[in-house]
């Protein structure tokens, strides 16, 4: 990693890159943004289609409890991954199980779990640390570029690689099962299995991106780029690639701004992402002048 940091430092000194890239944490942030941005953009298209936006928020909220459980398990404060992945996956699978076994609406189940996970997280955090450490809570909620270390980057890269491959291999199946379960079954697919698989992939990528974006704002990056892309896309190919583009621009520009301004990276990413969404909204009449979904884009 030192080689990469030095390379960026040399480029920054030579004037090819902004001077903030003299700092290793900015290079780590940029690499993380380049890994997570495209992936969240692509995953977001299925999240929006399956109407799982607030499911994502629940996973983010569960992160607070996950961090506390990680600390209880004796994990270091800057790397509570067993607690995070373990608890968030349990919450995600539990919600999917309840949805498939009851007739409760998706938003009802999310409503029940959403508040519980955040409340439980705050209680556990105070009990574990014996004090209310606002900086620690702030880091989880809004993301912190400074605390991102090499291990986080490795976890992020490995998670993104596994999720990216499985997501791409199953994208058509996820979309078809979202469209109509009976039709998917007629094609030999198992919509229930696909739902569990997607939830696991989504949770994995959400947890991996928490340090950069924060649990409160991860929803923004997974939903807003896809929503903006949906507004101006004529077909699925365009939908996915535009969402990837919006998400990548949001993370990279947000990161650069957070390196200059004294604000959390997640908050700036959220604002940039929203600006792109409103741009798409205002450009929509121009881009889809022939009527939405006419021809290929």
């Amino acid at each position: 990693m030192e080689y990469i940091y030095n390379l960026f430092k040399d480029w920054a000194n030579a004037g090819y890159l902004p001077s903030i890239f003299e700092h290793a944490f900015m290079v780590r942030g940029l690499l993380a943004a380049l890994i997570i941005g495209p992936l969240l953009g692509a995953v977001g298209t299925v999240v929006v289609t399956k109407k799982l936006s607030f499911f994502t928020q629940t996973i983010g909220n569960a992160a607070m409890s996950g961090v506390a459980i990680g600390l209880l398990l004796g994990e270091p404060a800057d790397g509570t991954y067993a607690g995070l992945y373990g608890f968030c996956l349990i919450v995600a699978l539990l919600m999917t199980f309840v949805k498939n076994r009851t007739h409760l609406a998706n938003d009802t189940i999310i409503g029940v779990v959403l508040a519980q996970t955040l409340g439980l997280g705050i209680i556990l955090m105070i009990l574990v640390t014996s004090q209310f450490n606002i900086h620690q809570v702030e880091g989880i909620l809004f993301g912190s570029l400074i605390t991102l270390n090499d291990n986080d980057l490795i976890v992020l890269a490995v998670s993104a690689l596994v999720v990216g491959i499985l997501f791409a291999c199953n994208f058509n199946r996820f979309m078809l099962a979202s469209f109509n379960k009976t039709l998917a079954k007629a094609r030999g697919l198992s919509p229930v299995f696909l739902e569990y698989l997607f939830v696991v992939l989504m949770t994995t990528v959400v947890v991996a991106s928490l340090k950069l974006i924060g649990s409160l704002l991860v929803l923004v990056l997974i939903v807003v780029p896809a929503a903006g892309a949906q507004l101006i896309s004529a077909n699925l190919r365009c939908f996915v690639w535009l969402s990837v583009l919006f998400s990548t621009i949001s993370t990279v520009v947000g990161l650069l701004l957070s390196g200059i301004l004294p604000v959390p990276s997640g908050a700036v990413i959220a604002v940039v992402s929203s600006l792109l969404f409103y741009s798409a909204l205002f450009l929509r009449p121009l881009l889809l002048r022939g009527g939405p979904n006419q021809g290929e884009v």
């Binding site: 039709l183 007629a186 004529a234 699925l236």
Partner: protein, 236 residues
């Protein structure tokens, strides 16, 4: 070949379905002959769609369902409704791509697939819809697209759930012609749910009328509007 000489393609024996304590279907016995258009009819809530879903394997049931496939061993299915978010930007091309290819639709080679999908849509006279958004299709257009997807790869048994619903009279006649062509020229056996006795009389070889249990099973000519109306009264 006479009707009795045709081999069975589907056999349903003593099929019963109970959902949340309610008996939806009661001891249904059904035989679908190879090369036939077999209609299922009956009042709303009679259990027709439940029977279709049981045959599809998506409904817990008692009794047995046997497929006696000899060729492709494949079921094609056209659902009654396809509820989806109409704001999702998915074209007819995308819709068929999702079902036919494993390569993700955003990475796939579109030119080669475009030719293949155009060919598939031509079978149901809807190749011109290839770039239209699925959410913007009329009921009749969407039915033809759904039928096209069900025919690729060629099924041995085609299940149609109310294929004539939300289609005007001209559209219904075109659809009937397509069904007869599929049966006579391509040898596809069809099991369809329909409320239209006129349509059943025009195209079906056999009809089974159910209202929780079977109340008629035989030639379409033997079933009258009066018989059906009597069942509607029982239900209503």
């Amino acid at each position: 070949m006479t009707e009795t000489a045709q081999p069975n393609l589907l056999e349903v024996k003593d099929l019963s379905v109970t959902l949340r304590g309610n008996r939806i279907l009661e001891r249904i016995n059904l035989e679908v002959k190879k090369g036939h258009i077999h209609a299922l009819t009956g009042p709303n809530g009679a259990g027709k769609t439940t029977l279709m879903r049981s045959i599809m394997g998506g409904m817990p049931h008692q009794g047995t369902i046997r497929f006696l496939f000899r060729e492709s061993c494949r079921l094609g299915y056209v659902p009654q409704f396809l509820e989806f978010d109409h704001s999702v930007p998915i074209t007819v091309f995308d819709f068929l791509f999702l079902m036919l290819k494993k390569v993700p639709v955003f990475l796939g080679r579109r030119r080669a697939m475009r030719e293949r999908i155009t060919q598939i849509l031509t079978a149901t006279n809807c190749a011109h819809l290839i770039d239209r958004s699925v959410g913007q299709l009329s009921g009749g257009e969407f039915r033809r697209v759904l039928l096209a997807q069900a025919l690729e790869p060629k099924p041995e048994l085609l299940l149609l759930d109310e294929p004539a619903s939300n289609i005007d009279e001209v559209g219904i006649r075109q659809f009937e012609e397509m069904l007869v062509k599929l049966r006579d020229e391509h040898g596809i056996t069809i099991l369809m749910v329909s409320h239209s006795l006129d349509m059943i009389t025009r195209v079906a070889n056999r009809v089974t009328a159910i209202n929780r249990s079977i109340f008629y099973d035989g030639s379409p000519d033997g079933l009258t509007h009066f018989d059906l109306q009597q069942q509607y009264k029982i239900l209503g």
